[in-house]
C-alpha cells in the first residue's frame, strides 16, 4: 500500500521533471539555433567587435554547445542563471522571482472565481430552484464556453473601463486590487464555463444515486440535499477539469497581462524576448512551467484527498 503510494508520487514527480526539462531544453536550444549573433542583437549593429566578443565570453556563447547546455542545467538546478542583460547587476532569477508573485495572484484568484462561479452555475442548472428555467443556465454555459477569452476580454474592458468607468483603465498604475480583481474575473470566466459544464454532468450522475433519495426522504432541505450530499462526490471531475484548464489559464494570463499592461511572468517573457535577454527569458519560461506543473500536482493531491476511490 505504502509502496504503491510512493510509486505513484514518484511517477508524478518524474513526469513533472520531464515536462520542465523538455521545456527548458527547448527554450535553450531555440535561442542558440537562432541565426545571427545574439551579442550583436543585444548590443546593436553599431557596436564594436571587441565589445561583442566580451559579451559572448560573459554569456559563455564562445564555448561548445554541450558545455553551455551543462552550465545552463547546473544554473537551473542552483537557481542561478546569471545576470539579466537588460538590467546589468540584477540577477535574472531575481527578476523572475519578482514577476512570479503578480502572475500567481492573478491565476489563483482566477481559479477561485472560476470555481465558485462554475459550481454555482452547475448547482443552479441541476437543483430545483429555477424550475424549467434551468435550461437557460445550460445554454449560457455552452455559449460562454464557446467564446474565446481573446474575443470578449478586450470588449468587456472597453465597455466597463472606458465607457462606464466602473473598473480601472488598462495600464492605470493605481489600479490596485480593483484592477487585479477585474483581470482575474475575466480570466476566470472561461474556466467557470468549463467547471459549470463538467459539474453539471457530475451532479446529474450523482442525482440518480440512492443516497439522494434517502436524504430527501429524511426531509432535508433542497440546499442540504444538493450542497451537502451531492456536491462532495462530484468534486473529483470538477478538480480534474480545473487541472486540465491550467494550461489555457496560463496562456490567458499572458494575454491579460499584455491587455492590462500588468507586471508578471508573461510581460517579463515578452520583454525578455524582444530585448533578447537570454537568462531572463530562460528563467521565466522554466518558472512558468514550474508554476503549471506544481498547480497540476496540487490538483491531483486535492482530488485524492477528496475522493477515496482515487487514492489506491
Amino acid at each position: 500500500m505504502i509502496f504503491r503510494a510512493a510509486r505513484a508520487v514518484l511517477s508524478r514527480v518524474a513526469e513533472a521533471a520531464a515536462v520542465l526539462l523538455v521545456l527548458a531544453s527547448l527554450v535553450f536550444f531555440a535561442m542558440r539555433l537562432l541565426p545571427g549573433d545574439p551579442a550583436a542583437l543585444i548590443l546593436g549593429d553599431q557596436s564594436e567587435e571587441a565589445e561583442r566578443a566580451l559579451l559572448r565570453a560573459k554569456l559563455g556563447l564562445d564555448q561548445p554547445l554541450w558545455l553551455q547546455y551543462a552550465h545552463f542545467l547546473r544554473g537551473l538546478a542552483t537557481l542561478d542563471l546569471g545576470e539579466s542583460l537588460r538590467r546589468p547587476g540584477v540577477a535574472a532569477m531575481a527578476r523572475v522571482g519578482a514577476a512570479l508573485g503578480p502572475t500567481s495572484e492573478l491565476a489563483a484568484l482566477a481559479v477561485l472565481f472560476g470555481a465558485i462561479l462554475g459550481v454555482g452555475a452547475a448547482l443552479l442548472a441541476s437543483g430545483p430552484w429555477l424550475g424549467e428555467r434551468r435550461r437557460v443556465v445550460d445554454r449560457v454555459l455552452v455559449a460562454v464556453a464557446a467564446t474565446p477569452l481573446l474575443a470578449f476580454a478586450p470588449v468587456v474592458t472597453y465597455g466597463l473601463a472606458a465607457r462606464l468607468r466602473v473598473v480601472p483603465l488598462p495600464g492605470d498604475p493605481d489600479a490596485g486590487f480593483a484592477g487585479l480583481a477585474f483581470a482575474s474575473a475575466l480570466l476566470g470566466i472561461p474556466l467557470a464555463a468549463q467547471v459549470g459544464r463538467v459539474g453539471r454532468a457530475a451532479l446529474a450522475d450523482v442525482g440518480r444515486a440512492q443516497f439522494m433519495g434517502v436524504a430527501r426522504a429524511k426531509g432535508a432541505t433542497n440546499f442540504r440535499v444538493w450542497v451537502v450530499h451531492a456536491l462532495p462526490p462530484s468534486a473529483g471531475p470538477i478538480v480534474t477539469v480545473i487541472a486540465t484548464q491550467l494550461g489555457a489559464l496560463l496562456g490567458g494570463a499572458v494575454v491579460l497581462e499584455r491587455l492590462f499592461e500588468r507586471a508578471g511572468l508573461g510581460s517579463l517573457m515578452l520583454e525578455a524576448y524582444a530585448s533578447r535577454d537570454l537568462p531572463v527569458l530562460e528563467g521565466a519560461v522554466v518558472a512558468s512551467g514550474a508554476l503549471f506543473v506544481l498547480t497540476q500536482g496540487l490538483a491531483a493531491l486535492a482530488h485524492a484527498a477528496m475522493d477515496p476511490r482515487v487514492r489506491a
Binding site: 527554450v27 531555440a30 474565446p148 481573446l150 478586450p154 488598462p170 494550461g247 496560463l250 517573457m269 512551467g289
Partner: protein, 259 residues
C-alpha cells in the same frame, strides 16, 4: 443527415464572404491611406479603417481566410497522423500501446502556450508556416488518444476476429476494418481542434508572435486595444471576427457528430 450538413453552413458562408473580399483587388490589406487612419465606418468602407488607414473589411477578410486555412490544415494533419497512430498502437497492444498512451499524456499535460513560446523564440519573425508546425506538435495527441480508446473496443469485436480468421494480416485489418469504423467518432474532434488553433494563432499574434505582414486576427485585436479610446470600432470588429471564426469551426465540427 440534412440537419448535420447544415452545420457546415456558417463556416461555408464565412469562407465565401472572406474570399469575396480577398478577390476584390481594390481593397488590398497593404493599401494604406494615411489620411483615413482610424476613420469610422462609412458606406464605402463598411467596417471603417484601422492603423495607418488600412481598410478593415479587407484586412479582416484576408486574416479570417488565412487563419481558417491554417487551422483546418493543421487539424487535418493532426487527424491524419494521430488516428492511424492511436489505432495501430491499440492493435499492437503491449509496450507500443503504453508508450503512445504515455506520449499523449505528456503532450496533453504540456502548457501549449509555453511550448509555442519556447519554439518560436528560435525565429525572429514567425511566419504562418512556423505557427502551423508549432500547433502540429501537439495537435495529433487528442486524435491519437480517441482512436486508441475506440480501437480497444473494436479490436475484440466479432468482425475483427472474422477478418483475422479469413487470413488477413494486421495491417489489412487495421486499414480495411478498424480505421473506417473509427473515422466518424474521431472526426468529431476536428472542429474543437481547429477552433482552438484559430484562437491560439490570434492570441500569439496579439502578443507579437504573428506574421510580419500583420494580416492576422490577433494583429487587428492589437490595433484595437491600442486605439480603444479613439476608435473602438476596430476592437469590436476584431473581437467579433475572432468569435465568428472560432464558433463556425465548432459548429462545423458538430457535422460529424452522430446525434
Amino acid at each position: 443527415m440534412k440537419g448535420r450538413l447544415l452545420r457546415l453552413l456558417p463556416l461555408a458562408l464565412l469562407v465565401v464572404f472572406a474570399s469575396a473580399v480577398c478577390v476584390s483587388a481594390s481593397r488590398a490589406p497593404d493599401r494604406l491611406v494615411l489620411a483615413d487612419a482610424f476613420c469610422a465606418p462609412t458606406l464605402a468602407r463598411p467596417l471603417g479603417c484601422g492603423e495607418a488607414g488600412v481598410d478593415l473589411t479587407s484586412l479582416l477578410g484576408h486574416a479570417i481566410l488565412r487563419g481558417a486555412l491554417l487551422a483546418v490544415v493543421v487539424a487535418l494533419v493532426g487527424f491524419a497522423i494521430g488516428t492511424p497512430l492511436g489505432a495501430a498502437s491499440a492493435m499492437m497492444r503491449g509496450r507500443f500501446e503504453r508508450a503512445v498512451e504515455r506520449a499523449c499524456d505528456l503532450v496533453q499535460a504540456f502548457p501549449t502556450f509555453l511550448l509555442a513560446f519556447a519554439v518560436l523564440s528560435a525565429v525572429r519573425a514567425p511566419s504562418r508556416l512556423h505557427l502551423g508546425v508549432v500547433f502540429a506538435i501537439t495537435a495529433w495527441a487528442p486524435f491519437a488518444r480517441l482512436a486508441l480508446v475506440q480501437t480497444r473496443v473494436l479490436r475484440d469485436a466479432a468482425f475483427v476476429e472474422a477478418a483475422y480468421a479469413l487470413g488477413l494480416g494486421r495491417a489489412e485489418v487495421l486499414f480495411r476494418h478498424v480505421l473506417p469504423n473509427l473515422l466518424g467518432v474521431v472526426a468529431v474532434q476536428l472542429g474543437g481542434t481547429a477552433a482552438a488553433i484559430v484562437v491560439s494563432e490570434a492570441a500569439l499574434s496579439f502578443l507579437g508572435f504573428g506574421p510580419r505582414d500583420g494580416v492576422s486576427l490577433g494583429s487587428v485585436m492589437d490595433q484595437g486595444v491600442a486605439s480603444m479610446l479613439r476608435a473602438p470600432h476596430v476592437l469590436v470588429a476584431g473581437s467579433l471576427s475572432v468569435f465568428v471564426t472560432s464558433a463556425s469551426m465548432l459548429i462545423a465540427g458538430r457535422a460529424a457528430a452522430r446525434d
